[in-house]
Symmetry: D2
């Protein structure tokens, strides 16, 4: 548990960083929701604010006055515990509250929180909620960036977000297989630092001998899969993945464009030549699995990844694992609304490990478990092979 | 055909009026599309502009330079003849071009048009296209208002558009039945003034004796239908209407709210008490038909309406008729893209006659044929009974 | 109104004819429902029986004992008035009651009816219901054949129903245009013979000069439309028709097969060479309209058809008209369940006139109004042009 | 690997048992497919036959003549490797081939196989295919029963399949928790007996201390969950499960009927009083999970189940586990069509362990891995708790 003083600046930096991510946006960009998985930026701004208001200010700050009666309804995401809410698919249908109003809301709540955190009244339980709130907002910083990329990258005009944004670092090292020996490994969060409930329940797993790649799969390598007809060979795919490929007519990673025979890629810095040596991005689990099949290898489990992660560098792409998102032995769902944070999604999703170029500094860690449905591609997702 | 000089001012007034309708909007309001039938206001601004660019400036003005290459793709509505376009359901997913850019587009095209209309080059054919373009924009002025009403009226915060906007005029006269005698009547546009192609082919119809009401059905009268259980009596409804009522769980006109037993109505002037003596609005054809059944009367045909319309005042509500939207005898679809304006919708829609509080001055006339699918309610639609 | 004695034999012949239509079926053919519009043959057998039980025996025959308590639920079609029913899309999911049981039900009800009709108790009102019941069953005889054709014709094995069944009579006469003069015509049923409520309300219409073809469009002629790319020219189609063609990937009439470049047609007599001089069949209204557009003509209205019908032979195909299915002036919906027969479908459907090779003898007449949604093709529908 | 002589009788007994399961059916029962997951019994009869024809007779038996050219198309299930097929949702739309023809097909192939197996030509590879084919048919015997139950149990008449069929054995012993100690356990098939590919790759897992119930959850116990409002407490459910409950309006296990306040249950022996002490059946994974949450316990993993299974009796219900269906370490997908048997379903499904009253004798074993989507309920699925 960190100190109150540090927490105030951690809190304020986090709040301020969220807003700085929106600097390049035009007002119109804050409003739209092109697909259900992408939320409008102004919704993220409001929702991360509502979290502090709903879970800290309203229950604990004496005399706290709600900024606006209707905002709980507008900015609740999925917490059944705390009442009704705008259905997710309607977030992009709301022009009001406007962007200015949402910033007013943010500043009001930021100031109220600052005052409250600095006060004597704050106890262990509130500190813990505050920490969750800050990490919750950091998580939304990543979503903000990926949602902005989707909003701009699916606009026919393909606007640039920030021409300095570097999505595609080059991996210079040669590809190597890192061998890991059979045995018992400890998995899960160990220290007293912050983590989410789904990382807890540190426990032992037995791993058999395996090898894991030091490098992520590159665009170049994935292009070979495409050119070999990987998207039309049913035997490389799960039955459900094959249906998805056929129905959605998927033929390449999201944001790739073949313009007159020339491969390009939309990035937050605009449309660019496809960088062949950079790590592949924006593929679904289905594609990750099919690629591994084609290559004759497989995806690692999340346990294999965690046990080996100190041997390679990671953090540019969220890496799909073969593991389903399940509770660790001894997982306990926290009581109340906070308990809706993770546990209720533990079915029919896959674990991703690592982090990405969109992840805020210090937000991820070796035990961090990200999770998505198997068809989603709008995150900076990549592939690391095992065998 | 009117004079060029008058046309310039007619054109400029029309362009300027469209923009004045948007004055009360916040930028965010220009962007959203809460249902497929409602287009974002900025799309209307761009689309009415594109119409002049595509059909007049591009083909006829020497040396005309497109404002932006991608705008034809963004702002085409449904003209298959002139190329690909953003699918209708995606209009609300586009944050760019932004509102400022769209206004720049408008002003650029308005100026180019002004220069062109005033020039010697303009001939009969271009004048005719210009006239269509102006009337097309007037039609979108009405849609702008009804779409804005939908956008604001479906927001949980229920913002006011303009607190002076009078939607609900009172009809003071007593209800009376106007008798019309059996015989041959002429239907369709006769003068040389502007009209749409679907009004042409003036022709004779034989009408039997009938009576038509001098007044529109009021909110009060429709409330009696609701209170008598009209929405749950299947025998009042068409089979398709009954399915719609059940699936959509329809229990009242659009924009009505029963708040703690008190009936209110969202209007462009905000949420108000339901005005009992005002004409009913925002009902589908299905509801109009069921109401007439319940009352023991029927809806007039569009021919009955046209033959009797000089006997009553109209123009506050678009009035559903029993007539399907079909070509008049001798209807000729104009060649090219302009031919896509009306003819291709002549199936599975109903004719509405009259006009509404949202219709621009001088835009409607006794022969004007509006048309919508039988389930739509977001226009200012009402009921006039016949027997 | 015909005599009781004749009615008994008319009734018995009708009952028996229905069963004879099913002679060529295997038991399995009685059960399936490949699309929602097609009902299983055993459902038709049961439903036409239930009609007599529900509307005549149950209310009027003293001491009548229901054959089976659950059959009203199983065999009601859409009469909301008389209670709950198996949803339409579930008809093909019911293996029980089995075919033998359904025949037992038929024979039980036929005998009870025979006894009852011959009795003294029968009055005018019951006679009228009996007449409706018989015509109702005749209507289902036609549906039986078209549904059987769908069931067999969509089976990969393409079984023969009856190799003597002649679907495709040749029209030997040369094509001619029959001119009809402008004036007032009387439309609707006039005599005291049986007709449906939707033919009543005989009334005057004013028709302008027109010409109507003496012949139906042939397969040969429609093939020219296909070969000219008619299915891919958007300007020939209604907007809604064009969406349908694209989404359903329609490229030819139902039951046509292009096998190695050779056109064949599934008929009730099995797969055959496409008979070029025979009248086209199994096309939707959308296709009929597009064909007429392509040819430079149009479809007749139902009034034009009725006014001219004595000048040409008809009865091989149900002929799409341009008329929407609407009530005639003075149409009165009968009270009670019988009132659900026609009136509630008078929206978003088109009128067909004529009859078909599947229509029972004496079932159609010049004033008969058939009606279907604009996309349906499983009936023997054809095209007669007007201009 | 068992002896050829035994194999012949094993094969013949299996073929004959399949047919004996269909004895109580009427012909109509063989044909219908009320939901996509349920196949028509005649399809099972044909498909299990096609398996032997396609994978053994066609490639290996010299001079083998196909029974019918179209049957591969009709009876292929999902093997992309071996060509096109009737889409799954269309299985119930095919009245032909009729039941008699399908039995002819069975007998033809059974005889050809008998002749072939007894011949000298048969080698190890063919024996292995034969063994798979037999086990494949046994698997379909179970599906036959569960599909028949669905077909009859969703018919409004609720026909009896076999009034001697005992679905609901009573568990007499008292409930107890069986403790299992922390440590390394071996998981997966070990002997040389037949097993499926997904059981192979015997490997070590580390299990922490846990306890597992000796008994399955009873109807009585689940009724307490219902009566406590379990189906309307969102916090007991996964987010996806909660959506499912709401959309499908699920309020009780499949086949339960509350008739005038009295709980009854449709069984293969007909509608019966709910047997309170019998194991619960026909619940989805979502319901199993919610029940465990409500009770304060959890579902076992498949590894916990396998490690403890010799301590309790099992085989009446397939038991949902918390484990996602994933490949074991070292899993190898067999080459060719046989490789499509298991591997391609290893995503977004849950493992079930045990067996059921519908499972053929000797078909299941401690390492057997069944798997279904999380919403399915038509199998005899139950709950065993762990903690």
């Amino acid at each position: 548990m960190i100190h109150t003083k540090n927490l105030v600046s951690f809190f304020l930096e986090t709040r301020s960083h969220t807003e700085s991510l929106c600097k390049p946006l035009e007002i119109e960009d804050y409003v739209v929701q092109p697909v259900i998985d992408v939320s409008p930026p102004k919704w993220h701004l409001g929702h991360t604010t509502w979290f502090f208001e709903e879970f800290i200010l309203k229950p604990y700050k004496p005399g706290y006055k709600l900024f606006h009666e209707d905002f709980a309804f507008v900015f609740n995401s999925y917490y059944e515990t705390v009442g009704k809410r705008v259905v997710r698919s309607d977030r992009g249908n709301l022009s009001r509250p406007g962007v200015t109003k949402v910033y007013d809301y943010r500043h009001y709540v930021t100031n109220e929180m600052k005052e409250f955190i600095s006060s004597e009244a704050i106890n262990e339980q509130i500190l813990s909620l505050l920490e969750i709130g800050i990490h919750h907002e950091k998580q939304h910083q990543e979503l903000l960036l990926t949602d902005i990329k989707y909003i701009l990258g699916n606009n026919p005009i393909l606007p640039v977000y920030n021409d300095k944004f570097l999505e595609n670092p080059v991996q210079n090292e040669a590809q190597q297989w890192i061998p890991v020996h059979e045995g018992i490994y400890e998995i899960g969060h160990a220290s007293s630092d912050f983590c989410y409930d789904n990382e807890l329940g540190r426990h032992k797993v037995y791993l058999h001998d395996y090898e894991i790649s030091n490098k992520l799969v590159t665009n170049q390598e994935f292009l070979a899969f495409i050119e070999d007809g990987g998207y039309s060979k049913f035997d490389l795919w799960h039955a459900e993945g094959w249906d998805w490929v056929q129905q959605q007519k998927i033929t390449q990673p999201m944001y790739w464009h073949n313009i007159d025979g020339n491969w390009q890629q939309y990035t937050l810095a605009g449309l660019r030549e496809l960088e062949m040596e950079s790590p592949l991005s924006h593929i679904s689990y289905f594609e990750a699995f099919a690629y591994a099949q084609w290559k004759g290898y497989r995806l690692p489990t999340e346990f294999e990844w965690e046990a080996a992660q100190h041997h390679f560098s990671w953090g540019d792409r969220w890496e799909w694992t073969e593991s389903a998102y399940l509770p660790y032995p001894g997982y306990e769902k926290p009581p109340g609304a906070i308990g809706e944070y993770n546990g209720k999604f533990m079915v029919n999703q896959k674990v991703l490990r690592g982090g990405s170029v969109a992840t805020p500094v210090n937000h991820t860690r070796p035990t961090y478990r990200n999770f998505f449905q198997t068809n989603l591609r709008w995150q900076f997702t990549g592939i690391r092979l095992a065998r």
